[in-house]
């Protein structure tokens, strides 16, 4: 059991962590995306929509 773990650990160190996993392993990058995306697509876009409602007669 310990042998397998050592081998696995050694193999793991040699493996390059794929970009997607690096992104998901980075909580601060995720925080940035999770705040910016809804801020732009929901809040900013929404506020622009309301601001553009024209004045009526």
């Amino acid at each position: 059991m310990a042998d397998e773990n050592d081998q696995a650990a050694a193999a793991a160190e040699d493996e390059q962590v794929p970009v997607m996993q690096q992104i998901m392993d980075n909580p601060f990058l995720l925080l940035f995306l999770g705040v910016t995306i809804p801020a732009v697509l929901y809040v900013i876009w929404g506020v622009i929509e309301v601001a553009q409602i024209p004045i009526g007669q």
Partner: protein, 567 residues
Amino acid sequence: MAKQEQYRICPATGLRIYRSAENLIKANAVVAVVFLAVGGLFGIGVALTRWPAVHLLPADWFYLALTAHGLDILLVWVIFFEIAILYFASAVLLSSRLATPRWAWAGFILMIVGAAITNYAVLQGQSSVMFTSYPPMQAAPHYYLGIVLFAVGALIGCFVFFGTLVVAKNEHTYEGSVPLVTFGAITAAIIAVFTIASGAIILIPTFLWSVGLVSHIDPVMYKVVYWAMGHSSQQINVAAHVAVWYAIAAILFGAKPLSEKVSRGAYLLYILFLQLASAHHLLVEPGISSAWKIFNTSYAMYLAVLGSLIHGMTVPGSIESAQRARGFTHGMFEWLRKAPWGNPAFSGMFLSLIGFGFLGGITGVVLGTEQINLFMHNTMYVPGHFHGTVAVGTTLAFMAITYLVVPLIFQREIILKGWAKWQPYVFGAGVYGISVFQMAAGVLGVPRRHWDITFADAPLHFSFPDSAVLMMSLNGISALFAFVGGGMFVTVIVGSILFGKSTKSSEVAEEKKPGVAPPIGAAVARYGSAGVHAIPGTAVLVSVFFIAFVLYYFVNWKYVSELWLLG
């Protein structure tokens, strides 16, 4: 230099539990349950008033109680519990010390003070503005102030959580990626930061308006920004209660995620797109384009819903996989039939999962469909939907994990085991009923937030059909079950914490070192190469769910087509 902090080794998992983290988890969890009880008291008052035959509270008290119920459940109870979850998922699961305990305590105090101030404002009677507090309707200034303080306190808690992740990583308390449950907590914390930032952006000017420093708050602009907080706060719940499901499955069954990539990917979809759906509160507002409405209400082409649908398979699938590995392979559902239904942690979790999917999830997508919303907006269908998500989904899941938190963190045995065993079923029956009957009433046109649907004192006359009155009565009865079930929960938990037998053992527990498999779950096969796991039972459950979803979706489009023509 940071002084060496006290910790103990958890006998079940081998994890280090530092004293400060443990105390903060306990404090937040206890206060959470207190506010659950308070919110529940207001809730039964509301339900018994909306039961026309009982009509318990007079109008002014009804609207007051409804405001308080919304606040104490939708904001205070769940967020206090979620802060406890954040500290658990970071400090405990990563065997780490908490980043800045002093700040965590400051946040905790702020949350209590804020919640107390706002509740006080509501009880004074001049702030019956509902949880949504829509301008030009105005509450007392300290109503808004309390919520802002509460939000700042919660934000501090989120920063302590992120700080703890950094500390744990730097101090090498774990190896590789964080556990899946911690990743779920990260998702919840990210949504919480967006939620609170939006809350500050809208409630600070609204507070200034209430004291006369700002002259006007545009009502539609308010709604857009408010709901970035208002609905996102409920999405924190979704991320958190899904993490709770995984945690319970792991603790009770040693269940492993079927695929870390799939489950984390589903959470990533939440992080990116879950908050967009706040738009479903504005589907019948004047002036906003259908493009904005459709894109946002669909969580970006339903990508975040895909996340939920994925968890809907991977959570029960992980349990089935673990159970089958244990030998429960007889037939399609032995794994489920022989699951520990007498253990309230399991029964609460599974009832929460099924109910959230069928009652909360499906109805939420339907309700948030631009045109379908036309015959559901502001009817009782809306609270019916969100009792399916927050009461059946979140609250029942949080109750379930509390049965594990008491022995593992408070180190007390559960007392009144008979009550504990039945509690999820009593509460579950109640909240399932509330959800179903409220939605039925909504389809019949019954309005939400309404003191008297018989219009006894109104200058004009209108009668809802008898079936609508029946639904509100059944809602009242269900609420009684929920109230009893809630009372059982509070009694068992508070009683156990105060009077339960201590589970502290004199033996020295073996510490789990990073990189080595922990003692729990050792019987379960490694995944990866040996991870051949068939989940036929889950496949059947998910298929039933999908068929129900599709049918229900089309039935509601049929209703749309029968409405008057609108263009």
